[in-house]
Structures are given as structure tokens and as C-alpha cells.
Symmetry: C2
DNA sequence: TTTCAGATTTGTAATGATTGCAAATTTATA
DNA sequence: TATAAATTTGCAATCATTACAAATCTGAAA
């Protein structure tokens, strides 16, 4: 989901991160779009604007954001790591035709799993895959 | 979960796969344990028994099993791909301390997601991460 | 049994994403 | 301005996976 953050610099500072130009721009891409971009996506989008940008910086910055709880990693596909600035619990659906990864709300609160009593849960991910409505209309599925 | 398959050879043949020694052994490791092994795990376990085994064969075989719907891929961690011969819908919990990936049942049936009406869902994964009860007792968490 | 084609396995090289690391650059402080 | 600390950068190294062609195996036909 689109995050409504009025001041990205302050948002980073509040999380204990000094907002450099690179960090600001990278975070903005994550927060101001629905796309769950990969490192490659982020790098390609920012390259024209910051021609000196290094892909290593994108990796480093995302690690930093992770450590401070500002982004979560989406492993819905094994050959692409995506990132999300919305760390609230929500599901992800990947269409195998157009490749888009979209959000969906999970209606009722998370069920308590009997067999996990006593464990500490720090992360939860709900992934669905298939073919989105739009692609189903355009193809024969 | 432990799959109860009386005749693995027949099980493979029914799925349209000729049961070679390698395929049999690889599938048995998947079906007769709870461990959700990686390629590396499978290769290491079988190497003594099949000294000529190639890691490529493990990769090829798992791809083949996937194509025939006999295994599912578990992407709970971005640096390790795990495999599961139990393709029924169930959740996976990874303990960040001992590293084990265990199964859990999902009580109520999958909720119908309003926003995904019209899409075709072919795969669902529910992943939890944290610290298992055993590890919490041994540590201070 | 021998022969031969097709299926399967193997070893090695190539690929591609991610990380390690040291130098270069930028920023903050005195 | 001078200096130290933080950040970014470029490139090499690592590691999982895939591509590919040669080697081996299997099963049917002769
Ligand atoms: Mn999301
Ligand atoms: Mn499982
Ligand atoms: Zn689609
Ligand atoms: Zn544990």
C-alpha cells in the first residue's frame, strides 16, 4: 500500500538513520509506489537522477532500512528479492503472467497456531500466486 | 508432515516419472522426513550412498518433481531454497536460532480475499519466523 | 546376446545476485 | 581550514543455480 509519509527525511531520522540523498530517494521509491521493487528496479529508476549511484549503495541502504525495521523483504519468488516499506501485516499476490506483485488485506486477525504455543513470532508472510483478473481476461485462463 | 507412501516407485510412476535410483532416493529424503531439506542437504545425505551423484542431478530432479506437482518450493529465507513433498496447504515456521523449519496446520480454511476476486490462485504460502519454544527456554528470549 | 536409440546422469563452465573490502568522497566538528 | 567520521563507490570474490555437452545407463529390436 501507498504509505502516507509527509516528511521522509524526518521519518528516517526518527528511525535513527541520517537521510542522505541516496537514502531519501531509495526510501521514496519504496514508500511512494505499490510496486515492491527489486534492487535492480530501484537502481534503474534512480540512475538517471543520481548518475554516480552504485548498486552496492542500494544493497547497503536496503540492509540498513531492514535493520531499523523500515522495510520488509518479500521472498515470493526464489529468483527475485523484493522490498516493501509497508511493514504492516498484509498479503502479497504475484501474477505469473504480468509478473506484478500486489497487496491484499487479510480479513480476520492472524489465527493462533496451537502447535506454535511458546514460540515468539517476529515475522509473518502470506503469499499467493496465480493469474490476476486482468491477465485472465486477456488470455485463456 | 511425514508422507505415508507405501511404494515410492509406484508413486513416481503414477506421476509420470520413471523411478531411477537417484530419483527414488531423492524423493524418499523429501517424503520420509520433516526437515524441508535444501539441495545441499539432499546432496550431502545421499553422497555416501551414491558416490557418483552429481549436484546437478539433484537440481534437475527437483525441477522435474516440481513440474509434475510432487514437490513445492519453500522460500521462507532468501538465501536458501527448501523443498517439501507435502504439497497440501500448511504453514511453515522457521526458528531463527536453531534454523529448523517446521510445519503447522492452518485451522480455518483459507479466507476469500475480496480484492483477488477474478484471479486464479494456484499457490499459497504462509510463512512465520521467530524463535521456537525450545530455543526460547535455552536462551533469554 | 548384441546393437542402437533415447533417456538419464555427470562434470564443468557460465551466469547472476549478493557481499566484502578498500579507496574515494562527503559531511560534521573543532 | 584542517581533521575525523560517516557514507558512497567500484571492483573483486563468493555462492547458488543453470547451461551444455559428454558419458553412462536402459530397454527394445534384431
Ligand atoms: Mn506490500
Ligand atoms: Mn512442510
Ligand atoms: Zn497479471
Ligand atoms: Zn529453535
Amino acid at each position: 500500500m501507498l504509505l502516507k509519509i509527509e516528511n521522509v527525511g524526518q521519518y528516517l531520522r526518527d528511525a535513527g538513520i541520517k537521510p542522505s540523498i541516496q537514502r531519501l530517494k531509495i526510501f521514496e521509491i519504496l514508500a511512494k509506489s505499490y510496486e515492491h521493487p527489486t534492487v535492480e528496479n530501484i537502481y534503474t529508476q534512480l540512475s538517471p537522477e543520481i548518475p554516480t549511484l552504485s548498486k552496492t549503495t542500494v544493497y547497503n541502504t536496503l540492509k540498513l532500512f531492514q535493520k531499523h525495521g523500515l522495510v520488509m523483504v518479500i521472498n515470493i519468488e526464489d529468483n527475485e528479492t523484493r522490498y516493501d516499506a509497508d511493514t504492516s501485516f498484509h498479503g502479497h499476490f504475484k501474477c505469473n503472467v504480468c509478473g506484478k506483485v500486489s497487496d491484499f488485506n487479510i480479513p480476520n486477525t492472524q489465527p493462533l497456531i496451537e502447535s506454535l504455543k511458546g514460540s515468539l513470532i517476529t515475522e509473518s508472510h502470506y503469499y499467493l500466486k496465480g493469474i490476476c483478473a486482468k491477465c485472465r481476461l486477456r488470455t485463456d485462463n
